[in-house]
Symmetry: C2
Amino acid sequence: MSDRWFQDYVPGTTSEYGPIRVDEEEVVDFGRRFDPQPFHVDAEAASAGPFGGLIASGWHTCALMMRLLADQYLSPVSSLGSPGIDELRWIQPVRPGDELTLRATVDQARLSRSKPDRGIVHTRVELVDQAGAVVLTLRAMNLIRTRPDGAR
Amino acid sequence: MSDRWFQDYVPGTTSEYGPIRVDEEEVVDFGRRFDPQPFHVDAEAASAGPFGGLIASGWHTCALMMRLLADQYLSPVSSLGSPGIDELRWIQPVRPGDELTLRATVDQARLSRSKPDRGIVHTRVELVDQAGAVVLTLRAMNLIRTRPDGAR
């Protein structure tokens, strides 16, 4: 992982990482700072609200997914950032105490035409809870450096 | 804003909110917790890296955008959450000290066929920095309650 390059992202390969736990205090802290809707920040209001209880901001769920990607799928030697995400779907509410596992499938890996030291990797991402339910899906694009001459 | 309903999201309308400031300490804290890539968490490594300095995690930028949406575009009386986002693009790096303004254009507002108390609003979002550069774009979907009988 600490030495993973563009060539190591093989289309068709699926990997699983995690789980990562959804902490109630963090749900509320994240909500207060970034997404202060009642169902993210106020347990009492949330229990009378559309989700019947506190749920994580969808952006918090994305951030937890990113933690798994950054720790286990991307590599600091080759990751050059991301141009964007397609078809992000929050499929089920994520609640405090949930344990989320990342499933990442390499969809496509294409060398850059203009910059031969990198390529773009398209990844299909699913986040799955402890009951096996898919709670989030998205398609990620990542710019990844090719293995330099001499690196193994 | 505290009393905004589905009917108040009129297609073709554009509104601007903000700005919100990108704080360096928060960039690093967010990165450490959720996206510990060198260019988000380590100023020294970042200055030698692909962006020539610290940049905010793309998910932090999304979270700051959400704060403006939650405070000024959505309403606690009617917001029922979001099924997802399309075509999220991180167009330019966002750096500590940047001041980001949200531009939200209602693209489409359609009543639910199955649940007549709500509709889905499609919004085109741009986040613009203090120099006028668009740094992030996306298309958001939001479920919004219709105005109840008797409400003004």
